[in-house]
């Protein structure tokens, strides 16, 4: 048991005082960064890298682990309390988290989210520690055709979000597709929908769109509420005892989904969360409750997006292939300390690699502890005077977006999407399909075209691998099963009429 020996050797290293302090600080910073709109784990880690130049590698990496795990959880806090997802991965949490808060179950939703996040992170860290090399092989199996089907599978989620008027929901999807096309086309180098603007050449950042569509409209709503109309948000005090047992199958399924999606390069926590929510909703017989404040609808995406964290590091550490922007930045942090990711890393510096993996596990637990204390404070956001809260949200969104690329242009773009989002809400056009289309649309288009380029234009290539077939089967199940159920429900009623 080579791995166990390495783990035992690394264990004492991470329980030094400096590493523990770094992990606590990192987790706290991570939760903060995740909770603020515009800021994400990628940005938090990227800007902290220079600060870690002078630190011991494990101190720096412990902090990185804390930020990564913390930020994934942090995104759910404003998603639940204000329906503003702090990170793109928090978007699925809004679906059920915000309705829960409106029903007065904000503390319960925060508890479910915290516990699910911590469990997801812990499962993911264990997978990373014990199974990294065999799981890494999965990452290489995925070809362009498989990515295409996977993106389509994600898009089926949109069908659920269409609201009662499909035309409007699909229109929102089209908006997302167009926004996703803006910039230089990666496959030919042609400029699309850039209108000669240099700032649009590299496309529209998903965080700019997300913050605009999701943070600005609630701020406007809060501002418009008159003081006399304001009532203290109802907060249930009774919900102290939660029955955790029904959540266990949700956690098992969602963490497996999160881990698998984490391993596949180019998919991140946002995709994991959306797919897990969709799958949870599909498999629950009582699926009418989803989107209206079902606690399991909070547990599934939060567990999945945190199960994605350590799993993303599996191909990153073992093969040197970072599966997401965060993983790429973490590789940068490793590089600064002279640790070159790839096969030789495990051979040359096993204590540090295994130490880093262990800190991913320990910070999952720390996150739970810090989150428990924090949750009491977070709920107070609901009691803040809305006339003060509204401008503060604007200020946070502005500084958060500015700090991504030091660009005022993106701040203006965010405000534009904010006004657009507000208009869409007033017209009952759902905004979530647009965000999903921006995440998945470019992936579907690019991988389809890449697959056809490789095959020389023949469509057979799309159905050649067994992975493709599995995903196609999953798509069929999500689309056909509900349809079939509805038909079965219709038939007897028709029989009655006759």
């Amino acid at each position: 048991m080579d791995i166990l020996n390495h783990i035992m050797a690394a264990l004492p290293l991470i329980f030094s005082l400096e590493v523990i302090i770094a992990m606590i600080l990192g987790t706290a910073v991570g939760i903060t960064v995740g909770a603020l709109p515009g800021l994400s784990a990628t940005m938090g880690i990227a800007v902290l890298i220079p600060l870690t130049f002078t630190m011991e590698p494990l101190v720096a990496l412990g902090m990185v682990a804390g930020i990564y795990n913390g930020a994934m959880y942090g995104g759910s806090i404003p998603a639940i309390l204000l329906r503003i997802p702090g990170t793109p991965a928090g978007i699925a949490t809004v679906f059920d988290g915000y309705p829960m808060a409106q029903k007065g179950q904000a503390p319960l939703a925060l508890k479910v989210s915290l516990a699910s996040s911590a469990i997801g992170s812990a499962v993911s860290a264990v997978a990373l520690l014990l199974l990294a090399p065999p799981l890494a092989a999965i990452a290489l199996k995925f070809g362009p055709a498989d990515y295409f089907w996977l993106a389509l599978f994600g898009m089926t989620t949109i069908a659920v979000l269409l609201s009662n008027n499909p035309a409007k929901g699909l229109l929102s999807t089209c908006l997302g597709l167009v926004v996703g096309m803006v910039g230089i086309d990666a496959m030919t180098g042609a400029e699309r929908f850039t209108f000669g603007s240099m700032d649009l050449l590299s496309g529209i950042n998903i965080i700019v769109l997300l913050t605009g569509l999701f943070a600005i409209p609630p701020a406007i709503d809060l501002a418009v509420k008159r003081l006399s109309e304001q009532k203290e948000a109802p907060i249930d005090k009774k919900e102290d005892r939660i029955r955790w047992k029904p959540f266990i199958p949700v956690w098992i399924k969602s963490s497996i989904m999160g881990v698998v999606i984490g391993i596949i390069p180019a998919l991140g926590g946002n995709v994991a969360a959306v797919l897990a929510w969709n799958e949870q909703r599909r498999s629950d017989p009582d699926n009418d409750q989803y989107g209206k404040g079902e606690p399991k609808g909070v547990a599934a995406p939060e567990c999945a997006n945190n199960a994605d964290t350590a799993a993303t590091l599996i191909p990153a550490l073992t093969l040197g292939i970072p599966g997401s922007a965060v993983a790429a930045v973490i590789l940068g942090a490793l590089l600064v300390h002279g640790l070159r990711p790839g096969p030789q890393l495990f051979r040359d510096d096993p204590e540090i690699v295994f130490g880093f993996m262990l800190t991913m596990f320990v910070t999952a637990i720390l996150m739970f502890v810090i989150g428990r204390f924090g949750a009491r404070a977070f709920v107070h956001v609901l009691k803040a005077p809305t006339t003060l809260l509204a401008p503060m949200i604007i200020c946070l969104a502005v500084v958060g977006i500015y700090s991504i690329h030091n660009s005022m242009f993106e701040v203006w773009l965010m405000l534009f999407f904010g006004l657009l989002g507000y208009g869409m809400e007033r017209l009952d056009i759902p905004t979530a399909p647009a965000v999903l289309a921006v995440i998945l649309g470019p992936m579907a288009e690019e991988s389809l075209r890449r697959a056809l380029l490789i095959s020389g234009g023949s469509f057979d290539y799309l159905v050649k691998s067994w992975i493709s077939w599995i995903i196609i089967a999953m798509i069929a199940m999500t689309l056909i099963v509900p349809l079939w159920k509805r038909l079965r429900r219709l038939q007897p009623s028709r029989g009655d009429q006759e």
């Binding site: 910073v29 903060t32 940005m43 938090g44 800007v47 902290l48 220079p50 008027n165 035309a167 409007k168 699909l170 229109l171 089209c174 908006l175 597709l177 167009v178 096309m181 086309d185 496959m187 030919t188 042609a190 699309r192 929908f193 701020a219 406007i220 501002a223 418009v224 008159r226 003081l227 005077p385 006339t387 003060l388 509204a390 401008p391 503060m392 604007i394 200020c395 946070l396 502005v398 500084v399 500015y402 700090s403 030091n406 005022m408 701040v411 203006w412 405000l415 006004l419 208009g423 017209l427 288009e445 075209r449």
Partner: protein, 152 residues
């Protein structure tokens, strides 16, 4: 204005944008043009359906309570001051603008507790300064406030 009429206008507006988008997309040659053309045409179709729906309901329904003028004024006020805030940032700096923006907006919206009105933004700005300038080391536009005091 009755709601269906607003929707009809919006739907036609979106339809117009789709046509403009399609015209733009015809410039894109080869494979990079397929999806833009397909999406804009599909969106045009959808916006026509939407326009039809609202035109039909315009006939059906007679009258509906329009938006309360008071809340419309508050919305416009909040949006306007937010835009002014962002315009001001490059000139007077982020933190200076924030210190003015929050109390100004909150008081015009009707918040009256003076101590919190001035104290909360100050605490908020200090927290932001610690996080963004000290911890994350973001290079924000230069501060008028600091220039006046003579630090920079």
């Amino acid at each position: 204005m009755p709601r269906p009429l607003i929707e009809l206008v919006c739907a036609l507006l979106v339809g117009g944008l789709c046509i403009a988008g399609f015209v733009e997309a015809t410039n894109y040659t080869g494979p990079s043009g397929y999806l833009p053309k397909a999406v804009t045409v599909f969106a045009l179709l959808l916006s026509l359906i939407w326009a039809l729906q609202s035109a039909l309901s315009l006939q059906k329904r007679k009258k509906e309570a329009s938006q309360e003028p008071m809340s419309l004024a508050r919305t416009a006020l909040f949006m306007g001051s937010s835009l002014a805030y962002v315009v001001a940032i490059p000139f007077i700096g982020y933190f200076t603008a924030t210190l003015v923006f929050i109390p100004a907006v909150a008081s015009t919206l009707g918040y009256r507790k003076l101590r919190i009105l001035l104290g909360a933004p100050l605490v908020f700005v200090i927290a932001l300064y610690i996080l963004f300038s000290l911890v994350l080391q973001v290079q924000l536009p230069e501060e008028l406030l600091l220039q006046l005091v003579g630090i920079r």
